[in-house]
Chain length 583, copies 2
Amino acid sequence: MRDKVVGILGGGQLGRMLAASASLLNVKVVILDVGESAPAKQVIAPISPTLAHVDGSFADPQKIRELADKVDVLTVEIEHVDVGALEAVQNVPRPTPLAIHPSPATVHTIQDKFRQKEHLASRGCPISDFLPVEPNEESIRTAAQQLGLPLMLKSRTLAYDGRGNFVVREIPQIPEAISFLSKRPLYAEKWVPFIKEVAVMVVRTVDGEVQSYPAVETVHKNNICHLVFAPLRSRDATLPRRAREVAEAAVKTFTGAGVFGVEMFLVEDGSLYINEIAPRPHNSGHYTIEACETSQYENHLRAILNLPLGSTALKVPSAVMLNLIGHSSSMDEIDAIVNVALAVPGASVHLYGKSECRKGRKMGHITVVADSDAQLRTRLRPLLESLPSSTPEEIDRYAPPPPAPGSGFSDPQPLVGVIMGSDSDLPVMLPAARILDRFHIPYELTIVSAHRTPDRLVEYARSAAARGLRAVIAGAGGAAHLPGMVASMTALPVIGVPVKGSTLDGVDSLHSIVQMPRGIPVATVAINNGMNAGLLAVRILAAGTPSLVTAMEEYLKELESDVMGKVKTLEEVGWEKYEVKRT
Amino acid sequence: MRDKVVGILGGGQLGRMLAASASLLNVKVVILDVGESAPAKQVIAPISPTLAHVDGSFADPQKIRELADKVDVLTVEIEHVDVGALEAVQNVPRPTPLAIHPSPATVHTIQDKFRQKEHLASRGCPISDFLPVEPNEESIRTAAQQLGLPLMLKSRTLAYDGRGNFVVREIPQIPEAISFLSKRPLYAEKWVPFIKEVAVMVVRTVDGEVQSYPAVETVHKNNICHLVFAPLRSRDATLPRRAREVAEAAVKTFTGAGVFGVEMFLVEDGSLYINEIAPRPHNSGHYTIEACETSQYENHLRAILNLPLGSTALKVPSAVMLNLIGHSSSMDEIDAIVNVALAVPGASVHLYGKSECRKGRKMGHITVVADSDAQLRTRLRPLLESLPSSTPEEIDRYAPPPPAPGSGFSDPQPLVGVIMGSDSDLPVMLPAARILDRFHIPYELTIVSAHRTPDRLVEYARSAAARGLRAVIAGAGGAAHLPGMVASMTALPVIGVPVKGSTLDGVDSLHSIVQMPRGIPVATVAINNGMNAGLLAVRILAAGTPSLVTAMEEYLKELESDVMGKVKTLEEVGWEKYEVKRT
């Protein structure tokens, strides 16, 4: 590693995070950007006078040449660079060849969004219909007739963070659109009625092998990335895998090494459309620094240096990234939210060292990690509340508050599903809910009848794991099929509570639940003992959450001290006067 | 944060990691160390000419003064600094007072190990007996008579990484010891026959509040920190908590803010002795960068800047730090192990950018994180194997290989304990073991009889969680008390397998296991169904390990396709000729 020098075109936050990763591996880095205090230059001092950073624009061919002369591998933190200049430096004779990643051809294809769409369409990647348009009313009206309204008008080049996009909702808006997008080459896209935005970071080796990070949900606000949730949750268990497959297939169609950010739209029927691809580390991959075994930045370096790729697996159950976007020319709002973040467990602040704050400028980000989605939202909430631009609706949408304990309503991010075959089982199941309340475990409680709502049973069981549940408690009586049928359609542990009916003393339910065939276990508890089902769920969650082991140990100590209190009372009042309390 | 400037005395690896943390918070840092390319100076470029790094020794009072003039808060990466110089700069009149953390008084106490011991002894902290000695035979012989042999002779000052220690095993060694420790002020310590070394990082606020990181096990080699395992595992469930209490109490006795590393000895009877304390980020806390919610470096900065402390909780189940110590003047050995590390999932490489390699010099470290201790050891093993200094015994000790699948021997780092009341239950329990083999889950299998080995039962159940187990499978027949009694003495989920006896068809066992009282659940599976117990354990572990959810989903698909194969056969051969296979 120590012998190769990496040059980065651009010294903003992506270059800064790349440079920080390079330091860990003793990889020498030279930055090209304007000024001495570009964010990336702050965190990597020049190693020698000959390897000094270059002061100049990443759009200046002369400066690119100057950078190229110092380095062995050239990479970009932004795709809006002069491809001709890249090709020119690649062709300069030198003792050892210059590697450029991503390849100039890839940058050429991607930096023009229309060309990118043509490329993806010709390789069979799923994208929305699109057409070339001229910046005149007739051309756009024709496109609207073919693709329908609303129509997405986009600038082909230099468009990011929503700059260069215009949504034509009605024909009379066309002149306004032309004026807004003036002087830019345009194209039109069929509007995708998406219900969610999804992104996948993919890392591609020099040999063209690809490896993807977990699929994430992205939330944009004013066309700028606002929040990234990892991993993606869905009622559709196949979605995360499908998103990775689409992203990997798309990245395979390009040349050159490094990470690529693939942004996608999810529509109601479950289809995915690629929105756009960035040939570099991406905002939707910042979370990987704290949440994955290897960050996107280190994997970008490994890929372009032809080193083995690192694991892309998540190392925490749940993570969210919140962008810190300038609200005005003052850093005060950013400082205010950072101060809140310092008090949030699991929050890591990344400020980019930008000298000036501007409205809409990316000043930093905060990544929060947590044991569960519910804990994550609890941690995220004060951050969203401290953002001046947050509306109450947004706060409740992305960081919904948990229901008040004992309120009798389900948590929107449950870890445990408590279900029963009939509302008549509620008295038996309530103690399970009370135990989960006591241990602060988010849960949902509802009715799923194996025999009367079989479709609901299938949907519930099949989606349970993908929705983020980690255990299911199912209570049923008589020919009690609910727990076993749920167990046969989920990989999660299912706890069965035999409910005592009017005949056979509950032994019918017990045997129906416990005597499962080989292959599908149900964790059965005592007849009518919903409380123990709740406690078993806590113990199961404790297998992945050490703090719950401690909480359960304290609970066991309380049980012991309760009995010891009764021992004392018995000795004090004598057994003739002792009153047995039944709960 | 942006308004305070932090000065660090020392620009080695600790200063480097502090500086990297400071960048994330836009905290301005000025480094005092010799040369322009000290490791810390490489990762934080001077922010302005007036805030240029200082070129000089951290032992030079003039240079300390020069640094102090530039900063608001002064901190150290090494305690062997000139306390007089610190006190002098603190007394210089200036517009805003200079904060020094740790306080000069703390540095003064700690940098002289004899003074440190006196301090700890007078505050009631557990330390080994010690005596002042003169560097002459008579004085040392007298100490050996009082404290016994072997006797630990230590230099009072400038002693770290084992430099300045001599173990006098026999009286005739005394002249050799005097010669080895020549010209140094000495003291003698009673030898502590430790069975394990333990460390705890503690962060102390300006107001004297303390918060500790998880206790870790440290392994030294040639007196230099070699490995750090987090969290500390033990058969004694109270040990991790006790270690944190000892460390927190000790750090409370000092003044000044920041992190402190507390190194301890564990002896056979479970007692802990403080070995020594470092008033700064410490080698035993490097693992916190990848493994904890807030790293020791960021918490040091937060503490000395009087910001809220970050969470010290682990965010991964298991982590290990391996120091990369120079083996010669060549970096080749270091490069070799780094190349191995790049192929190890969960491994993060930290090279320190030191210009020259030397035997015994700390050149970098590698932190590995994992889902479990067993996975951690599997990941650690190739790293130890690639160290030229590793012996086969060391490799097997710190990264024991798992038993061959199906060999019938227990894994040394089990996640699941499979126990049975009698060896006659083995045929029922074997299928559980086979399932765990199939899913690559490390487990142990043994006999624990509730009625015939009650003490063993208690010891097994009480230590299960602290040893790193996450679930217990217990099989028993007749009056089957084993599962329920284990469940009453551990917070882990316990799976009960009712074993069918010669009478009552196993219903006796089933009811004995499932009908637990409220408060203590046992996850009961079908009579004689050890296989389902294994599968339930896999599902329980999946609650904390998403990859196991996928593996279980694939298993369920296989079950489905097995049956579909039989459907096909039935149609092909007809039911008259169909042969039912019993397994």
